[in-house]
C-alpha cells in the first residue's frame, strides 16, 4: 500500500522504506523554530543537561531558527529581559537563523521562515507555535510543539515518540471567485469539519484549486489547519513550490521527488467545491462558527485588524489597498494593518500600498503578532467588537474577555473599514482586483 505525503516524509526522516499510521518514530528534525518562548525553552534545555556532566550545547545550531515576533518591540520589562536572555543564548550557541527586531529582516516567524528559504519540501519542521502548520504549504511536515518538547529536540535533534498521524485528503475544486480568497476556503472547510475535525490528523490538500493557488494562499490554508485541530496541513510540492522558493528565496536546483502515492491510504476524504464560495465570517467565540458574510452584514465594528501569520502577506495588503484606494475609512472604526514581515512592508511601500492605506485612515503597525494573541498594540475595550483577519476568536483572545472577535478575509476587513459595519466587498461595486505580477 502506498504512503501519504507525511508518511513519506517520516519514512525518509527515519531511514525506513515505509511507515504506517500509529507507528511510533523518532524523526530527525530539519528545522526547529521558536520565538519569544525560547526563554522557556532555554530554561527547560538547561534542566535537561543539569547534573549530566555534559555541556549544554544544541545538537546543530544551523537547524535552529529564533524569531522575535510575539511582543515586538518589547511591551514590558519582563519581555525585554527575556529577549535579552535569548540574544545571549543565540550568541553562545552560534545560531545564525536569528531574526531580531529589525526593519530589514524581522517579522512574524512563519512568514520569515517561508520567505528566507529555511523550509524546503520534505523537511520535518517543529515550532513552539501552533501555527507551525503553515509550513506544510511548502511540502514540509511541520507541527507545533511545547517548549519542553523543543528543549528535547534542541538536545537530541529528533522528536521523541512521534506517532505517525493519519491523513485526511482534502480535495478542493473550482475557481475561487473575485473578492473570495484562501482565507474563505479554509474558514469554509473548518466550518464543515469543525474545530476538532482533524485532531491528531494531517490535512493533505489536493484539487485544481490548490494547483492554481499561489504559495501565499497555500500558507494561509495550512496556517489555519491547526484550527481544525490538525497536526499539520500539507500541500504536495509542485512547480509553484519551486517557483516560490526560487523567486522569493533564490533557491534553485530542487527536484520534486516527494508526492503522495496514488494508492495511499486516507482516513477520510473531504471534498469542497469553491466555485460558488462567498466571503465567510467566523462568529464569536469559535473559529468553526462559520457563516456567509451576508449573515453578519451590518454589524457595527469598533476595530479592524489586517495582518498576522494568516493574512499579512503582500496579496492581503494589496487587496486592502485596492478596496481603500482614494477613499476614507468610517469615522467609527479603527483600522490596524500589520504586514507579516519587513520584506513585505518594503514591498508594500515600493508599490505605494502603505501610503494608500495611511491616506485612507489606516494605522500601519510594525510587523509582529500584535493584538492577535491579546498582548499589546490594539487590545479591544469592554463590549467592543473586533473584526480581524487573524486565526482565532476564542473569548478573550484579543486581550479582553468582555469583547468579541469576528474572523474574516482581508477583503471583507477592508470593505468593512469603509462602512464601519461588516460588509461584503462584492457589494461595493469595485473593479475586479488584478493579481500581482
Amino acid at each position: 500500500m502506498g504512503m501519504t505525503m507525511v508518511e513519506k516524509i517520516l519514512a525518509r526522516a527515519t531511514d525506513r522504506a515505509s511507515v504506517r499510521p500509529g507507528e511510533v518514530l523518532e524523526p530527525r528534525v530539519d528545522l526547529a523554530m521558536s520565538h519569544e518562548n525560547s526563554a522557556l525553552v532555554i530554561n527547560q534545555f538547561q534542566e535537561i543537561f543539569k547534573d549530566t556532566g555534559l555541556e549544554a550545547k544544541v545538537w546543530d545550531p544551523s537547524k535552529l531558527a529564533i524569531i522575535f515576533d510575539h511582543r515586538v518591540p518589547a511591551e514590558s520589562a519582563k519581555t525585554a529581559t527575556n529577549q535579552k536572555k535569548i540574544r545571549q543564548f543565540v550568541r553562545e550557541q552560534g545560531i545564525e537563523k536569528f531574526h531580531d527586531i529589525r526593519g530589514d529582516e524581522g517579522g512574524i516567524c512563519h512568514q520569515v521562515l517561508a520567505e528566507s528559504g529555511y523550509v524546503l519540501p520534505g523537511y520535518v519542521v517543529v515550532g513552539t507555535d501552533s501555527h507551525t502548520t503553515t509550513h506544510g504549504a511548502l511540502g514540509a511536515f511541520a507541527f507545533g510543539v511545547g517548549a519542553t518538547e523543543m528543549a528535547s529536540v534542541w538536545a537530541l535533534g529528533r522528536v521523541l515518540n512521534v506517532e505517525v498521524p493519519e491523513t485526511i485528503k482534502v480535495i478542493i475544486s473550482g475557481r475561487i471567485p473575485p473578492f473570495v480568497s484562501a482565507k474563505d476556503v479554509i474558514l469554509a472547510l473548518i466550518g464543515k469539519i469543525t474545530a476538532q475535525g482533524a485532531n491528531f490528523k494531517v490535512l493533505e490538500f489536493h484539487g485544481d484549486t490548490i494547483r492554481r493557488l499561489p504559495t501565499s494562499g497555500r500558507l494561509t490554508l495550512c496556517n489555519m489547519a491547526i484550527e481544525a485541530g490538525a497536526t499539520s496541513g500539507i500541500v504536495p510540492p509542485d512547480e509553484e513550490t519551486l517557483r516560490y522558493l526560487h523567486h522569493e528565496c533564490g533557491i534553485s536546483g530542487l527536484e520534486l521527488d516527494l508526492s503522495p502515492d496514488p494508492d495511499a491510504h486516507y482516513a477520510e476524504i473531504v471534498e469542497l467545491d469553491v466555485s460558488t464560495l462567498t466571503p465567510m465570517v467566523a462568529f464569536p467565540h469559535m473559529v468553526d462558527h462559520v457563516k456567509g458574510v451576508e449573515e453578519a452584514y451590518g454589524l457595527p465594528i469598533d476595530q479592524i485588524m489586517i495582518g498576522s501569520c494568516t493574512n499579512g502577506r503582500l496579496e492581503d495588503i494589496e487587496i486592502a489597498a485596492h478596496i481603500l484606494r482614494g477613499k476614507k475609512i468610517a469615522r467609527t472604526v479603527r483600522l490596524l494593518v500589520f504586514p507579516a514581515s519587513y520584506r513585505i512592508y518594503h514591498q508594500a511601500l515600493d508599490r505605494g500600498y502603505i501610503k494608500e492605506l495611511l491616506e485612507a485612515g489606516a494605522v500601519v503597525m510594525n510587523p509582529g503578532c500584535g493584538p492577535c494573541l491579546g498582548v499589546h498594540e490594539g487590545i479591544l475595550g469592554d463590549g467592543e467588537r473586533g473584526l480581524s483577519t487573524t486565526n482565532r476568536n476564542f473569548k478573550g483572545r484579543m486581550g479582553n474577555p468582555n469583547a468579541e472577535v469576528y474572523l474574516c478575509s482581508p477583503a471583507v476587513a477592508a470593505a468593512s473599514a469603509l462602512t464601519g459595519v461588516i460588509t461584503d466587498p462584492r457589494t461595493l461595486d469595485l473593479p475586479e482586483p488584478q493579481s500581482l505580477p
Partner: protein, 166 residues
C-alpha cells in the same frame, strides 16, 4: 477520591486556560497564579481554597489552540487533574511532557462538588453512583509519564547516547 471544582464545556482553548496577556510569564513556578485567570476558580486557587488533586471536568477538544506550555504548567502547579471527553493534540502532549494528570473519559458526567474516584479503567462518580470508562493513555506517552516527564526522559536518552562534550 477527589472533588470536582470546575465543570467546563467543549472547546476550552489554551487562551481560556492561560490568557495571552500573561504569556510573558514563562517559568513553571510563576505561571500557576494565572491559571484560568478569567474564571472565579483562579481566586480560589490563589487563596488556598483548592486542595491538590482537585478535578476539572470538561467536554471535547480541551486545550485547543495555542501550543503555549504555560497552560499546562499553570494547572500542574496546583496539582489539578483534568478529566475531559477528549484533548487537543498539543495540549495533550505538553501535559504528558510536564506530568499534568489527564484522564480521557468520553462519557463523563459530573457536576461541581461531585466526589470522583479515578481507577485504572474508569472514573467512578460516587455522588451520582455512576461509573464511566476511560480511554488509556497510549503506551508511548505513558513511557514519558513513567520516566517522570520529558526532561527526565530526554536526559536519560542523552546519557545513553553518551554525547561527547565539545
Amino acid at each position: 477520591m477527589a472533588k470536582v471544582v470546575l465543570v467546563l464545556g467543549d472547546d476550552i482553548s489554551t487562551d481560556h486556560i492561560y490568557p495571552g496577556r500573561y504569556m510573558a510569564t514563562v517559568l513553571p513556578n510563576e505561571t500557576p497564579q494565572y491559571a484560568l485567570a478569567d474564571y472565579p476558580l483562579n481566586k480560589k486557587l490563589n487563596t488556598g481554597q483548592i486542595p491538590p488533586n482537585s478535578i476539572i471536568v470538561a467536554g471535547e477538544n480541551f486545550g485547543c489552540g495555542s501550543s503555549r506550555e504555560q497552560a499546562v504548567s499553570a494547572l500542574k502547579g496546583w496539582e489539578l487533574i483534568v478529566i475531559a471527553k477528549n484533548f487537543a493534540r498539543i495540549f495533550f502532549q505538553n501535559a504528558v511532557n510536564l506530568g499534568l494528570k489527564l484522564v480521557i473519559c468520553p462519557t463523563i458526567e459530573a457536576e461541581e462538588g461531585d466526589e470522583l474516584e479515578i481507577t485504572e479503567t474508569a472514573v467512578i462518580n460516587h455522588t451520582k453512583g455512576k461509573e464511566f470508562p476511560i480511554v488509556p493513555i497510549p503506551a508511548t506517552r505513558q513511557a514519558i509519564i513513567d520516566a517522570g516527564g520529558l526532561i527526565a526522559y530526554t536526559r536519560k536518552r542523552l546519557l545513553e547516547e553518551r554525547r561527547p562534550t565539545y
